[in-house]
């Protein structure tokens, strides 16, 4: 069989499987809680691996490999902070309280949680607008990453690749909703993991082992093995923070905790997510190895496709391509359902006050998922030149808006409605302005956005009126004692 034939066969089987999962999930869906949260019934393995699949997209595999190629082994730190802050600590610190609080408040979305927790309608609308707008930008870059993977590995034209992947995702998300997203995500995490491990093992062997790779990189430039090396502290820390701590404010990842069956899921889930999330380090390592084996590439983003073609057999590279496509599709699908939730639940139903029956809400959600997907697809066909910059831009905007309100909403009873609005507005505006003036000192807008959001939350909350004790008591799951102090069991 020709190489192209093998790629096409593996891909066709894989895509059919995804559509099959979407159809199965569609049969189990009756209400909008089913569409957005899978009826809060998801177990530890599926939750944790679909979290990993939604976290790491094609942008991370191809772009991460590009960073490894350009900056060398110091980029392993990005993988390490992804695992520690983006996965393990996120699960330990956020998981349990998010599940308990959103269950008590009966909310299904991140904007919904902020609105109910802080009794702030404006927070819902602001968060929904920011999520709707900036996640579409993120969608475009994910599709672009997949299109380039098709182009580089399968010699399919970019547009055909984007259309094929986009159409399949839109189909299974609008059919199967959240359950389709988490089940396909679970399956895709395995495909990604196997693909990345396979490439790493074979590439290490080709380079003569890790010691030989490090020695060879050292000979090219010592900066390629030292930390912070050629990148410098400002760039390395900014980037590591945005893709690790940023997770704490990203709704497509936080929603995983809303949907778990019970908080006991977190026990096994945290371990599985951490082990699975460790694959984050591999694209960076592979990129650095590619620098040894293929010096002088014109574009660092070609590092992973070039390495794959050189060291893997046609079957191996077909599997790896499926892994990259899996990474892109699972993230795109997760983002799609969150965007649809922001539009239908938070803007139309709650923001505009439109009453919708459960059946109609599900139908609208399906339509909005399809429309948002198609809009992203249309933009991705002729992507703006700066799309990779826009990825970091969209994460910075969303996380600067939502991160502190989520965290303080879970841990600080004294946080007030005005504190949260000041934090959201201040964080967002600061991040956007900082990026707009060209990211001074090489620091990404996310960092000043976070700093301003934090100060605004604490200072404004301290001088504005507290939320009523009985409300806080309800959220924290206790009833107020005779002094009006909530009897918290947390």
């Amino acid at each position: 069989m020709s190489e192209l034939g093998i790629h096409a066969l593996v891909l066709a089987v894989y895509l059919l499987l995804l559509v099959g999962i979407g159809l199965l999930a569609a049969r189990r869906m009756r209400s909008s809680e089913d569409f957005y949260l899978g009826g809060r019934s998801v177990g530890p393995w599926v939750t944790s691996l679909s979290f990993v699949a939604a976290y790491f997209s094609s942008v991370v595999i191809i772009g991460g490999g590009g960073f490894g190629y350009r900056f060398g082994m110091s980029t392993l730190w990005i993988g390490a902070t992804n695992v520690l802050i983006g996965v393990t600590l996120a699960w330990m610190v956020l998981g349990r309280r998010i599940r308990l609080f959103t269950g008590r408040l009966g909310t299904m979305t991140v904007p919904g949680f902020l609105a109910e927790r802080f009794r702030a309608k404006e927070a819902r609308v602001l968060a929904a607008l920011v999520i709707g707008l900036f996640l579409i930008i993120y969608n475009v870059s994910i599709l672009k990453g997949m299109g380039h993977a098709f182009e580089g590995l399968m010699e399919i034209p970019y547009t055909t690749g984007v259309l094929l992947a986009g159409a399949i995702i839109i189909l299974y998300v609008s059919l199967g909703g959240y359950l389709a997203v988490v089940w396909t995500g679970f399956f895709q995490a395995w495909v990604m993991g196997v693909g990345l491990i396979l490439l790493t093992v074979v590439a290490l062997k080709a380079a003569g082992g890790l010691t030989a790779a490090n020695t060879a990189l050292q000979a090219v430039s010592p900066g390629l093995v030292h930390t912070p090396g050629e990148w410098g502290w400002a760039g390395l820390i900014s980037y590591a923070m945005i893709v690790s701590f940023g997770v704490w404010g990203m709704p497509q990842l936080m929603v995983r905790f809303y949907s778990i069956k019970s908080t006991s899921v977190l026990r096994v889930g945290t371990v599985v997510a951490t082990v699975g999330g460790s694959m984050a380090v591999l694209p960076y390592l592979d990129g650095a190895i590619a620098r040894v084996l293929h010096p002088g590439l014109s574009n660092a983003d070609l590092a992973i496709p070039t390495l794959t073609k050189a060291v893997l057999s046609p079957w191996g590279s077909a599997l790896f391509l499926a892994g990259v496509i899996a990474a892109g599709m699972s993230t795109f699908a997760s983002v799609l359902i969150i965007t649809s939730g922001a539009v239908v639940r938070d803007l139309v139903q709650k923001g505009l006050g439109r009453e919708l029956s459960e059946r109609r809400a599900v139908r609208y959600s399906r339509i909005v998922s399809a429309v948002v997907g198609l809009v992203s697809l249309a933009i991705a066909l002729r992507p703006p030149a700066l799309v990779l910059v826009l990825t970091a831009f969209s994460w910075a905007a969303i996380a600067s808006t939502c991160l502190w309100p989520m965290l303080f909403g879970l841990y600080w009873k004294r946080a007030t409605r005005w504190g949260v609005l000041a934090s959201m507005g201040g964080g967002l505006v600061t991040a956007l302005v900082w990026i707009g003036i060209g990211s001074p000192y090489g620091v990404h807008g996310f960092i000043p956005g976070l700093a301003v959001g934090l100060v605004a939350m604490i200072v404004v909350s301290a001088v504005t009126e507290r939320l009523p004790e009985d409300h806080i008591a309800r959220v924290w799951g206790g009833s107020p004692d005779e002094n009006g102090t909530p009897a918290s069991t947390l």
């Binding site: 390490a80 902070t81 393990t88 269950g103 030292h226 930390t227 006991s264």
Partner: protein, 38 residues
């Protein structure tokens, strides 16, 4: 130099990853369930 001819500060990244796995296991084994766990 740390193992595999890696500079120490770079090698710590591997330790952080291994440490995260150990921490997750310890947390999930040692954490006491509360009455709020459902």
């Amino acid at each position: 130099m740390a193992p595999f001819e890696t500079p120490w500060l770079t090698f710590v990244a591997w330790i952080v990853i291994a440490g995260s796995v150990v921490m997750a296991i310890l947390w999930s084994v040692l954490r006491k369930p509360t009455e709020n766990d459902r």
